[in-house]
């Protein structure tokens, strides 16, 4: 299935589409208010972009520096070329610790690597401790948003899920009561957690420390109660210095939810006495993307989700319509790097309105990259045949004024004299499913102009 098919299925529930759109628009407005209140916000964006560009330009050096400093702190650093290697490393570490269960705070990287199903297949019980993540995990669904993984669900849906899995009363939909139930349920899991996995928001090269931002404190609870901490990070998460961190923490939460800062900004530098800390650094296609001059800027992404909240297409098609770990506009420029054929419809799931680029806190030119992916997808022969042929034909007509004039007249006259039922048949003309065609005039502009000149 392609994006348009999944999107059409989503929008067919008009009421739910309205609710989804308005919920995310509300988050976008909260972001706006937070941004308007910071006079230097645009300078901050530029600074963040510059820091990231700089880091990417000498990523090899910073990675080595980071590794060296982390090792000096007593942390074991592992390198994974791809998702498979990452999963194997994590499983080995769990087995070495003699553990059969673990708690995991939010990590899009482990989603990208499909770590959960891999561990479960190997007999390890995984509990996601971020509330939204836990909800979608119980439902055996993928997250539909980077920051708000269960944003596609209403409180009634969550109530139903908790009734099934956590034994809350049937019909319970009070957010406070549901959160309390999740809290009690997760406390038990934290207490028996032997291994804690966290994601990484920022990795500081000069100190070898990793920084994890959460609103629920679940990363801290997990790490502090477990004997082994495994932090999984994509290799683009680096920043050079601790002094750079403030630029990003100011941007991240404001862009994501409109908060001034996340509730918890946790620094993990070294294992506590008698404990272990591991960092797994993952490539999984990032080097390839770094080697594409037109697309390397996509690696600046700090996973705030602002481009999703603002995207008028995302808001009306839902995160699952992208069928990729990272949905929305940023996902549409990251996914073709992973599998162009499978994700070939995603760069077209945009009107190129440019709002994503304007909210991006690290100034990724998202809409320009969508346009460029389209060119590559067409060149690689991944366009649907009808579209490709149609565009070739259109180009040849539009390069020839005589044929264009004739064709335009035929189309206009055809619309005037053919019956409405035929010109507006939804089977041939998708435009007409929800829209009327323009009323064809008798005369084109050029015909009118020719008469003026004669007069």
């Amino acid at each position: 299935m392609s994006h348009p098919q999944r999107a059409a299925a989503f929008t067919s529930d008009a009421e739910r589409t309205t609710w989804h759109d308005e919920t995310l628009w509300f988050v976008r407005q909260k972001r706006d208010k937070a941004v308007y209140g910071i006079p230097e916000f645009q300078q901050l964006r530029q600074l963040a972009s510059d820091i990231k560009e700089h880091t990417l330009s000498r990523l090899d050096e910073y990675l080595e520096q980071f590794e060296q400093n982390a090792r000096a702190n007593g942390v074991t650093v592992h390198w994974a070329a791809d998702a498979e290697e990452h999963n194997r490393i994590v499983l080995d570490l769990i087995r070495k610790a003699g553990a059969t269960s673990l708690v995991k705070s939010k990590s899009m990287l482990t989603e990208e690597c499909h770590l959960n199903p891999y561990l479960v297949k190997n007999g390890i019980a995984v509990v996601d401790t971020d509330l939204g993540e836990r909800i979608v995990q119980l439902r055996e669904e993928a997250p539909s948003h980077l920051v708000l993984p269960a944003i596609h669900l209403k409180k009634e849906d969550v109530g139903e899920t908790f009734h099934l899995h956590l034994g809350t009363p049937k019909g319970e939909k009070d957010p406070q009561a549901l959160t309390e139930a999740a809290r009690l349920h997760l406390r038990e899991k934290f207490l028996i957690g032997e291994v804690a996995i966290t994601g990484v928001n920022f990795a500081v090269a000069e100190t070898g420390a990793v920084v994890v931002c959460t609103n629920e404190g679940n990363a801290d609870l997990g790490v502090n109660l477990a004997r082994v901490h495994i932090a999984c990070m994509g290799m683009e998460k680096l920043i050079p210095r601790t002094a750079d961190l403030g630029v990003f923490t100011r941007l991240l939460a404001r862009s994501a939810t409109g908060q001034p800062v996340t509730t918890y900004t946790s620094h993990f530098a070294r294992p506590a006495e008698g404990r272990e800390m591991h960092i797994v650094i993952v490539d999984n296609g990032r080097t390839r993307q770094l080697g594409r001059p037109d697309f390397r800027a996509s690696l600046k992404c700090i996973r705030c989700g602002a481009c999703m909240n603002t995207c008028p297409v995302y808001r009306r098609s839902g995160g699952h319509s992208y069928d990729f770990t990272v949905p929305g506009p940023i996902g549409a420029i990251l996914s073709p790097n992973i599998d162009m054929r499978q994700h070939s419809s995603l760069p077209f799931a945009s009107t190129l309105c440019g709002s994503c680029t304007d909210v991006c806190p690290v100034k990724i030119d998202i809409h320009a990259q969508l346009y460029k992916w389209r060119q590559i997808i067409a060149q690689e022969g991944e366009l649907p045949a009808a579209k490709k042929l149609g565009m070739k034909l259109l180009s040849s007509v539009l390069a020839r004024p005589g044929i264009y004039r004739f064709g335009g007249k035929v189309a206009r006259e055809g619309l005037r004299f053919l019956p409405h039922g035929l010109t507006h048949a939804a089977a041939f003309n998708p435009w007409a499913k929800a829209r009327e065609l323009p009323e064809p005039p008798k005369q084109s502009f050029r015909d009118w102009y020719a008469q003026q000149v004669v007069k």
Binding site: T11, S355, M391, S395, P401, Y404, A434, R435, Q443
Partner: protein, 263 residues
């Protein structure tokens, strides 16, 4: 000053009244524009579909057609943005460079080149302005809600200067309408839904006449208005100004002091 009028293909064929209004409006402001007959299209439909390579002959044809003009003016920010931004893939001859920087959206031309920021005339209606993304975010013709709460732009200023005209205060000032070129066909469901939501914002807030600077967005919105038989008229802003000037409240010349000097 030689001004070439670029009337995009779909306006030529389906909305000649918009081309006529553009021509007459410029004429009333003292600019006699020329319409070179061999013109066709800027090539955007193909390029946005990924077929930029196929569109190159169309780009060259566009440049050949307009190379001899000081300015190229079009009632469509989207086409202008395409010429300026995306004609970088053909050889950058002097002609290509000239055409890229000399191509203007109609209201950008009126405001920035001619120095006109107010228009006389009367149009006693509540007008809802649809800001088109390529004009706004691409050509920076209006402020963006992503950056600032101040809702200000070339077209809203010009509209406010017309007697009797009130502008609708929308809930979402600059959300995309969902037209998006071939997006409107390939992503029909989302496209239609976006358009319906945009129109609904205007209906809720009392718009009588829905306008904008880009006829492609308006074609899509008009298609929805007519399908739903809503009590809204859809007019390109050039049509509004041209109609308003039929009953000028003040002489044109006193209102456009910069115009003659700029020419």
């Amino acid at each position: 000053m030689k001004v070439g009028l670029f009337i995009p293909c779909y306006i030529d064929q389906f909305y000649p009244q918009v081309g006529i209004a553009t021509y007459q409006l410029l004429e009333k402001l003292g600019v006699k524009a020329d319409f070179p007959r061999q013109q066709t299209c800027c090539g955007q439909p193909m390029a946005n579909t990924g077929c930029e390579q196929d569109a190159k002959p169309v780009y060259r044809h566009f440049v050949d057609t307009f190379a001899g003009y000081d300015y190229v003016v079009a009632p469509s920010g989207s086409c202008v943005y395409h010429v300026r931004k995306h004609y970088d893939v053909v050889e950058q001859t002097g002609a290509v460079q000239h055409v890229r920087q000399a191509t203007y959206d109609l209201f950008d031309f009126i405001t920035s080149v001619m120095g006109v920021t107010e228009l006389p005339g009367r149009f006693p209606h509540q007008v809802g302005l649809h800001l088109s993304c390529h004009g706004q975010r691409g050509l920076h013709q209006a402020n963006e809600s992503e950056m600032t709460p101040v809702r200000e732009g070339q077209l809203s200023r010009l509209l406010r200067s017309v007697d009797g005209l009130t502008l609708t205060e929308l809930n979402r000032n600059d959300e995309c309408c969902g037209f998006g070129g071939t997006f409107c066909i390939t992503e029909e469901a989302v496209s239609a839904r976006m358009g319906q939501d945009r129109v609904q914002d205007h209906v809720l807030n009392g718009t009588e006449v829905l306008t904008g600077g880009d006829m492609s967005c308006l074609m899509h919105l008009e298609g929805i208005v007519r399908r739903r038989q809503l009590p809204l008229r859809v007019m390109h802003a050039a049509e509004i100004f041209n109609a308003a000037l039929q009953q000028p409240s003040k002489p044109v010349s006193t209102y456009v002091p910069g115009a003659v000097a700029a020419l």
